[in-house]
Amino acid sequence: MTLRFQPWILVAALVAWASVPAVAQHGAKAATGPDNDTCLACHGDPAAKSDSGRAIGLDADKFHASVHGAIGLACVDCHVDLKKTTDFPHAEKLAPVNCATCHDAAVAAYSTSIHAAARRQTPDSVAATCVDCHSAHEIRSSKDPESRTYPLNLPATCARCHGDPNIIAQGHIRIGNVADLYKDSIHGRAVSKSGLLVAANCTSCHGSHDIRQRTDPASHVFRANIPATCGSCHEGIKTQYDSGIHGSALAAGSTHAPVCADCHTAHDIQRADVTSWRLSVIRECGTCHADKIKTYRDTFHGQVTSLGFVRVAMCSDCHGAHAIFPKTDTRSSVANGHLLETCRTCHPTATAGFAEYDPHADKTNAARNPVLYYAAVFMKWLLIGVFGFFGLHTTLWLPRSYTARRAHDKEMRTS
C-alpha cells in the first residue's frame, strides 16, 4: 500500500508546524489573565457544576495530555474573554471559542463544508463543529491512537452523528444511517476487524474539514470526482477504468457514465465475491443497458442468475469489469478475435462454432436472429392454436358432459 497524498494533511501539518511556536510564545506573553491553576481551582474537579447546575468540570490530566496541554497553552488562550477577568466566579455565559485564531486554514476549509453550511442556515443546527469531532479539552493528534480522529477511531467519531437516528432525523440527513452500512462494508471491516490504517475511513473519501455535499462539483464524492477519489487507493483499477468506455465517457463529460459507486455502492462496499452483490451488479448494468439485460434474461445464464445463483456467466465475465470496451474495439474481450478465448474461460473445450451462440439473441429481431425470430413466431402460433382450439373444445364440452353425467346418474338410480 502506498501512502495517499491528501493535500489537506499537508496544509494542516504546515499550519500546525507554523503555529506551534507562535502559540507557545503568544501563550507566554499574553498570560496576563488568570493562569491555568486559577481556572482549575474550580474547573479541575470533573464533577463540578455551576450555580445553574451545568457541568463545568474537566479532567485536568487529560487536558495536560492533550496537544494543547502539552505545549502549555493557557485556558484563556482559547477562552479569550476571560483574559481580563479578575473577578471570580466569572459570568456564566462566555464568548464561543474561535479555533481560527490558530487553525485558520482548517477553519477556512471547514467553512466550505456541508456542516458549516447547515449551521449558517440554521444556527441551532445539529451539524458538527470542531469540538464534535476533536473534543474540547482532550484534543489529540490524529496520529495518536487515543485520538478521536485516529484512522481506526474516526468511523466511530462520525457515527456519533451519522449512526444516531435522532440526529439523522433532526439534521435531515437524507442518506440515512451510513455508519451502519459502512460498518459492514469491506472498508469498515478492514478498520474494525483487521485494524488496517490504510483502509478507507470516512475522511479518505469525504475529506476531513472540507466535507462537501456530493452535488457540489468541488466535493471529493461529486460524481465526476469519484474515480479519482477511489483511485487514490485503487490506482490500478482506476487506470483500467479510465481506459474503458465508461471512464472515457466520464472524462468526455457524460453525466450518465457509471462511476465506482454505481456498482460498488458508496458505503456498503462488499468483497467482489459476495453473491448478493454480484447479482446486484447485473441489475445495475441493466439500468442503462435495458435491452441487453432483457435478452440476457432470455438465456440460461440470465435465468440462473435471476434465480439467485452465480456459477454462470454474468455481464463482467464476458465484458470485463473495469476495462470494458465496445465489441468493435480490438481490446474488447467480446471482439471477434477474443470471443472464443472468453467463452473458453468457462467452457474450456469450446470450438469456434460454440462462440457463434448469441448470448444476447433477441427473438423479436428478425434481422439479428432470423431463425430464432421465425421459431418464436411459430411457437407463439402453435401455443395460441392448441390452447385456442382445445380451450373452445373444452368450453363446449363441459356443459354437455355435465348433462350427460346427470342423465347417466339418473339412469343408474332408476335401474
Binding site: 435465468q303 473445450t349 462454432g353 457463434e356 411457437m379 373444452t394
Partner: protein, 277 residues
C-alpha cells in the same frame, strides 16, 4: 349380452407394460416441469423459492437431467414395443385402421360429430379404441419428446454438439425447449386432465390408466365402435378380466390425485406469472 349390475364385467384396456410406462412418464414429466419451469419464470418469487428449496441450480439441473434420462428410456421402450409389434407380430393394424393411434379421416368426422353433440344437435360419435383427443394427446407427447428431447440434448452437451451444428441453433434450441415445455405442461395439466379425468362424466378421475380395466358397460357406452367391432369378431371373451383389486384402484386414485394437484398448482403458478406480466 346382459350384465348383472352388482357384478360388473371387466375387460382389459391397457396392459401392465403400458401402465408402467405411463406411471414413469408421469414421474419424469412432473420432475422435468418442477425443475425446468423455475428457469422459464426465473424472475418470479415462486421460482426462486422452488430453486432455493432444491438447493442450487446444479441440484435442480441434475434432477432435470435424471428425469430427462428416465423419459428418454420410456420413449425408447415405447418405440421398441411398437417396433416389435410391427416387425415380429406383423400387426399392421396399429398403423392404420380402427385400432390405430394414427389420425385418419374418421377422426375428423368424429370431431365434427362430437361438436354437434356438444351443441345438442346429434348423437355422440361411435368412438373407436382411441378418440381423436386421445390421439392428439399421444402425438402431442410424441412430437414434444422429439422437439424437447432433441433441443434438450443440444443444451445438455453444447460444447460437443457445437462441433457439428452452428451456434445459433443453441439460441433456437433454448427458445423451443422452453416454449414447447410450456405447451406440454399447459396442455397436460389442463386439457389432458380435463379430457381424461376432470370432465363431469369422469370426475374426479378415470382410473383406467392405473388399473388397465374398464367395465363392459363403459366400453359399450364410451367406445361403441370398439365394442361392436370386438364383439362382432368374438374377441370380448379374450379381453375379459377380473375386476381391479381394491388396492390398485386406491393406488390409482392416490397417484392420480397427487399428480392432478401438483399439476394444477403448477398451472396456477404459470397463470399467475403470465397474467402479472
Amino acid at each position: 349380452m346382459s350384465v348383472a349390475r352388482n357384478v360388473p364385467m371387466y375387460v382389459r384396456r391397457f396392459d401392465a407394460f403400458d401402465r408402467v410406462l405411463h406411471a414413469l412418464l408421469m414421474i419424469s414429466f412432473l420432475g422435468l416441469a418442477a425443475t425446468g419451469l423455475p428457469l422459464l419464470f426465473s424472475d418470479e418469487g415462486w421460482a426462486r423459492r422452488i430453486a432455493s428449496v432444491l438447493g442450487s441450480f446444479e441440484v435442480a439441473g441434475w434432477l432435470h437431467r435424471a428425469s430427462a434420462a428416465l423419459l428418454i428410456v420410456v420413449f425408447l421402450l415405447h418405440l421398441f414395443r411398437v417396433g416389435r409389434r410391427l416387425v415380429f407380430e406383423r400387426d399392421w393394424g396399429i398403423i392404420w385402421g380402427p385400432r390405430s393411434m394414427v389420425p385418419q379421416p374418421r377422426d375428423v368426422a368424429d370431431l365434427l360429430k362430437h361438436v354437434r353433440w356438444f351443441l345438442g344437435r346429434g348423437p355422440r360419435p361411435e368412438f373407436e379404441r382411441y378418440t381423436y383427443w386421445e390421439k392428439f394427446d399421444y402425438w402431442a407427447v410424441f412430437w414434444g419428446m422429439g422437439i424437447i428431447g432433441a433441443s434438450g440434448l443440444l443444451l445438455w452437451f453444447p460444447v460437443f454438439f457445437a462441433r457439428f451444428v452452428p451456434g445459433w441453433l443453441f439460441n433456437v434450441a433454448l427458445l423451443v425447449h422452453g416454449e414447447e415445455a410450456l405447451l406440454a405442461v399447459g396442455f397436460i395439466f389442463t386439457l389432458h386432465f380435463f379430457n381424461g379425468h376432470l370432465r363431469p362424466e369422469k370426475f374426479p378421475m378415470d382410473p383406467v390408466i392405473f388399473t388397465g380395466r374398464i367395465t363392459v358397460d363403459e366400453l359399450k357406452h364410451e367406445r361403441p365402435g370398439e365394442y361392436a367391432r370386438t364383439a362382432a369378431a368374438g374377441g370380448l371373451d379374450a379381453l375379459r378380466t377380473d375386476p381391479p383389486p381394491d388396492w390398485l384402484t386406491r393406488l390409482g386414485f392416490v397417484t392420480g390425485g397427487i399428480a392432478v394437484i401438483i399439476g394444477l398448482f403448477i398451472v396456477g403458478l404459470i397463470l399467475y406469472a403470465v397474467l402479472r406480466r
